[in-house]
Amino acid sequence: MNDWLLPLTLASSLLAGLVIFFLPERSVGWRSALNLGAALLKLACVGAMLWGTQQGISYELRLPFLPGHELLLRADPLGLMFVTLSAVLWLLTTVYAIGYLEDSPNRSRFFGFFSLCVTATVGIALSGNLLTFFLFYELLTLATYPLVVHRGTPQVLQAGARYLAYTLGGGVVLLAAIVWLQALVGPVEFQAGGALLALEATAAIESWVLVAIFALFIAGLGVKAALAPMHGWLPHAMVAPAPVSALLHAVAVVKAGAFGIVRMVYEVFGIEFAHSLGVLLPLAVVASITIIFGSLRALTQDDLKRRLAYSTVSQVSYIALGVALFGPAGTIGGLVHLVHQGIMKITLFFCAGNYAQTLGVHRISQMAGIGRRMPWTTAAFSIGALGMIGVPPVAGFVSKWYLGLGAIESGLGWVLPVLLFSSLLNAAYFLPILRLAWFEPPPPRWPHDVLDAHPSHEPHETAQQPQPRPRDAAPLLLLPTLCAAALALLAGLAAGVPLSPLDWVKFITATEYLP
C-alpha cells in the first residue's frame, strides 16, 4: 500500500484528466464525478502520507529516465506541505470550477487540462531531484496554457502568447542552470540542509560559478514566481476564467515558481551555503523591490482581477524575501506564507469570480454596496483582504510577524520598513474596496444580474410562483469561497495547534538549519 501512495497521488488527477478529455461535452455528471472523485482520492493519499510520515515511513519512488539520471519522487516534509496545499485547494477549485463553467463550451477540454495542471503541481511538490522537478515544471507550463487561453478571444490569445514566451523562456534558463550545475557535480537530489554541501565536487568549484548558477536558478524560477522584472505575464494572464486565475495565483504557476526558489535555496544550495556565498542579500533586494513595486501598481488598477494580480506579484515575493532572510524566523515567515498566501489569494479570486458571475461586476468602481447584495461573498473577500494586509487573527498576520522577526534576526534592518510600507500599501489598495463594498449604497442596477437573466422572463415560467431571490452567488461558487475564507481564518487562529501550517513549517525549518 505504501509503495502505491506516491504514484497514486499523481495518477489520480492524471488518469482523471486523460479520461475527461474523451468524455462527450454533455456528460456533466460523469465529468463532475471524476473530477471530485480524483480530488478526494488525492486528498486521501496526501492525508495518508502525512500520517505515514509522522509514523516514520518514508515514501520514495525511483524510475529510470535519462542516462545516469533517475525520475525520483519523494514525500519529504517540504514537499508534503506544498502537496497538501495543492490537494486541499484543488478540491475547492474543482467544486468552484464545476459551478463556474456551467453551460460554457469546451468543458471536457478545460477539465482535462485542469487535471493535468494539478498533476504537474503535485509532481513539482513531490520531485526529489532537479530533473524530475524540471519535467513537471515544464508540464505545468504546457498544461496551463490551454486554461489561460480557454476563452479564445484575440486578447486572450495574445495574453497566452505572452504567458508562453515568459514561461518557456524561464524554463530554458532553468534548464541551463540545471545542466550547468549537474555538469559540475553530477545528479543533484534535494536534501534538507542543502545537497551541494554533501557533494565532494562542490569544493572544487569557484564561487563565482556557483553564484552565476544561483542567479540562473532564480531567474528561471523567478519568471513563474513573478519576481520583478519578470512578472510581465501575470497581470495579462488574469484574462483566464476565475477558477484558473485562482489556481494560477494560489497553487499552480506562481506558487510553483516560489516553491522552486525555496527548494533551490534550502535543498540544493542549502541556506547556510547560500548565505556564505553572499547571494541572499541580492535576492532579498529583488524580493523587496518586487513587493513594493507590485503594491504600487496594484493601487492604480480598477479591474478587480488585475489589482489582485499585482497584489500576487507583491505577496509572492514575501516568500522569496523570507527565504532570503538568513535565520529560522525568516524561513518560517517565508514558508508559512507559501501556504497562507495560497489560501487567502484563492479566497479573493473566488470572490472576484462570484462578483463577475453573479452580477457582472469586474471593476472596483462597480462594487459600491455589493456587500448588501452579496454579504457572504463580501465577508469572505474581507477576510482575504484583511489577511493580505496582515491584520490579526487572519493567517497573513502570522506570516508578516515571522518575516519581521526574521528581518531583525538576519540583521537586515532595512527590511522592516519595507514590510511596514508594503502593509500600508496593502491597506491602501484593499481597504477602499471594503469601504466601497460595505458602506456605499448599491446602484439601482447591476451590470449583468443573474436574476435579470433568469429564465423567469420566458412565458411558460411566468405562470409559476416567483422564486425567492437568492442574495448571493450560486451554492457551488459560494461553498468553496466560504471554505477557503474559513481556512484563512483558521490558519491564523489555530497557528499554534499541531499540524497547522505554522507548526509544520517550524518542523521543516528545524531540518534546514540543524547540521
Binding site: P64, L66, P67, L135, L142, A183
Partner: protein
C-alpha cells in the same frame, strides 16, 4: 549461418513485395502489404535475436557477404546496432504510414496505385542504406532511395508537385554523381571499397592528405545535399510540403536520415586518419545556420505542411551540431554520437506524426492554410493531440525523446568543453516553440457552426499519427536504456576511444 540469408532478405523482400503490389489487383495488393510488413517485422526481430546471440559470442556485429564475395571487393551487409535501430525505426514509421495511407487514398485512386510500389522500393533502398558496408553498395542504395523518393514526390502529377519533384531530381542526381566521384577516387587510391577500413587503407597506401580530403569533401557535399543541410536545403520545402501526406511523412522521417547515417559512418572512418576539426566546425556552423533559417521561415509560412517542411530544415541542423567535437579520442564524442542518434530517432517519429496529423486536418478542412484549419482541429481532436505531442518532442520538453536527445547533446557539449553550443540548443528551444505554437494555438480559436457540421474522417488516420507521436513524446523514459544499448556498439565509434 542464418544471417547470410537474413540480411539480404531485408533488402530483397521489400523489393519483391513492391513488384507484387504493382502486379496484383487492389484488394490482393492490400493483403500482400499487410503480409509483407508482418514478414519484415519478423525478419527484423530475427536480426535482433541473431545479433544479440552473435554478440555474446564475439564483439563483432552481424555480417553477411553476398555471393561469397568477402571484403575488400565483395558485397557485404552489416547489422550493427545503429543499423538495427534504424531498421526498427523504419518498420515503425512504415507500419503507421502504410496503415494511414490505406485510409487516406480513395479506393481505386490512381495516386495510390503509384504510391504502393514506390513506397516499397523506397523501403528496400532504406534498408540497403542502413546495412551496406561498402561504398559502392551505399551508392546504389542512395540511388534507389533517391529515385523512389523523387517518384513519390511527383505522385499526384500536379504542376507544383512536378516542379518540386524536378528540382528534387536534379539535386538528387547531382548528389549521387558527387558521391560516385568520391567512391571512384577512394577506390583508385586504395583498391578497396570496404567502409570499415578506408581509414587504415588510406594510411597504408600513403595517399596524400589533399587527395583523401577531396574525396571526403565530395562525399560530404553529396550527403549534406541529400540531408538538406542549409544552404543545400533548397529542394526540401517544396518537395516535402507539396507531396501527398504519407509521402511527406516518409521523406522527412526516413529519407533525410539514411543519408545522414551514411555521412556519420564515413565521418567516423575518416576522422582518425585526417584532421577534421575545422571541417567539423564548419558542419556545426552550417547546422546552426540551418536551424535558425529553417525556424524563421517556418514562422512565416501560411500553409501547415510548408511550416512542417521548414521545421525539418531547422531540425536537420541540430543533427550536425555534434560534428564540432566528433573527433577521435575527443571527450564527449561518444556521447555526442548517442545524442545524434537519439535526435535522429526523435525527429523521425515526431515529424512523421506531425505530417500525418497535419494531413488529417488538411483533408478535413479541404484547405491547407493555417487559418482555415480551426474547424478541422475541433472535428479531429485526436489528430490535434498527435500534433501537440509531436510538437512537445520537437520543442524538446520532457519527457519526450526530443528532450532526451537535447539533454544528451548538452551533456556531450559540456563534456567536450564546447559550452557555447549550449546557447544554441537552449535558444533553439524557444524558436521551435514559437513555430510549433503557431499551429497549437489554432485549437483555441473560436469555431463556427458550419465547420463543425462536417463528417469526421476515419479514426484510423488520427490513430496512426497518435501512435507515432506517443512514441516520440514518451520516448524519453526509454532513453537511458536506448543510450546504453547504443553505447555498447563496437563498430559505431572505431578509434574514438571514448
Amino acid at each position: 549461418m542464418t544471417e547470410a540469408l537474413l540480411l539480404p532478405l531485408l533488402v530483397l523482400w521489400p523489393l519483391a513485395v513492391g513488384l507484387g503490389v504493382y502486379a496484383l489487383p487492389e484488394r490482393a495488393s492490400a493483403a500482400l502489404q499487410v503480409l509483407g510488413t508482418l514478414v519484415l517485422a519478423g525478419l527484423i526481430g530475427a536480426v535482433f535475436a541473431a545479433a544479440s546471440a552473435a554478440e555474446t559470442a564475439s564483439p563483432e556485429p552481424l555480417r553477411a557477404a553476398l555471393g561469397g564475395w568477402a571484403a575488400p571487393l565483395g558485397i557485404e551487409l552489416v547489422a550493427d546496432r545503429l543499423a538495427q535501430a534504424m531498421l526498427l525505426l523504419t518498420l515503425l514509421v512504415y507500419a503507421a504510414v502504410l496503415l494511414y495511407a490505406q485510409a487516406y487514398f480513395a479506393p481505386g485512386s490512381e495516386t495510390a496505385r503509384r504510391f504502393w510500389p514506390l513506397a516499397w522500393m523506397l523501403w528496400a533502398g532504406l534498408n540497403a542504406g542502413y546495412l551496406s558496408a561498402d561504398l559502392f553498395n551505399l551508392y546504389v542504395a542512395l540511388e534507389l532511395v533517391g529515385l523512389a523518393a523523387v517518384g513519390l514526390t511527383a505522385l499526384t502529377g500536379q504542376s507544383t508537385a512536378l516542379a518540386a519533384a524536378l528540382r528534387y531530381l536534379l539535386a538528387a542526381l547531382l548528389a549521387s554523381n558527387l558521391f560516385l566521384l568520391a567512391v571512384v577516387l577512394l577506390y583508385a587510391a586504395t583498391g578497396s571499397l570496404a567502409l570499415d577500413s578506408i581509414g587504415s587503407h588510406l594510411a597504408a597506401v600513403g595517399t596524400p592528405t589533399w587527395y583523401a580530403k577531396l574525396a571526403l569533401a565530395l562525399a560530404l557535399v553529396a550527403l549534406a545535399l541529400k540531408t538538406a543541410l542549409a544552404p543545400l536545403h533548397f529542394w526540401l520545402p517544396a518537395a516535402h510540403g507539396n507531396a501527398v501526406t504519407p509521402v511527406s511523412a516518409l521523406l522527412s522521417a526516413l529519407v533525410l536520415k539514411v543519408s545522414l547515417l551514411i555521412l556519420l559512418r564515413l565521418w567516423l572512418q575518416f576522422a582518425p586518419a585526417l584532421d577534421l576539426a575545422a571541417l567539423g566546425l564548419l558542419l556545426a556552423l552550417l547546422g546552426l545556420l540551418a536551424s535558425v533559417w529553417g525556424s524563421v521561415l517556418a514562422l512565416t509560412q501560411r500553409k501547415i505542411k510548408m511550416l512542417i517542411a521548414y521545421s525539418s530544415v531547422a531540425q536537420v541542423g541540430y543533427l550536425f551540431l555534434p560534428f564540432a567535437w566528433l573527433l577521435p579520442g575527443g571527450l564527449g564524442a561518444a556521447l555526442a554520437l548517442e545524442a545524434t542518434v537519439l535526435h535522429l530517432l526523435a525527429h523521425a517519429l515526431a515529424k512523421a506524426a506531425m505530417f500525418l496529423a497535419a494531413g488529417v486536418l488538411v483533408l478535413s478542412a479541404g484547405r491547407d492554410d493555417l487559418s482555415s484549419l480551426r474547424g478541422a482541429v475541433a472535428r479531429e481532436p485526436l489528430a490535434f493531440a498527435a500534433l501537440t505531442l509531436a510538437g512537445v518532442s520537437l520543442i524538446g520538453l520532457p519527457p519526450s525523446l526530443g528532450f532526451a536527445a537535447k539533454w544528451q547533446m548538452m551533456q556531450a557539449a559540456l563534456l567536450a568543453d564546447q559550452w557555447p553550443w549550449l546557447l544554441w540548443l537552449l535558444g533553439g528551444t524557444l524558436l521551435t516553440a514559437a513555430y510549433v505554437f503557431r499551429v497549437l494555438r489554432l485549437a483555441f480559436l473560436p469555431t463556427s457552426e458550419a465547420f463543425e457540421a462536417r463528417a469526421p474522417l476515419p479514426q484510423r488516420l488520427s490513430l496512426c499519427a497518435l501512435a507515432l507521436a506517443l512514441l516520440a513524446a514518451l520516448g524519453g523514459f526509454g532513453a537511458a536504456a536506448l543510450s546504453d544499448w547504443l553505447a555498447a556498439d563496437t563498430l559505431l565509434w572505431p578509434g574514438s576511444g571514448a
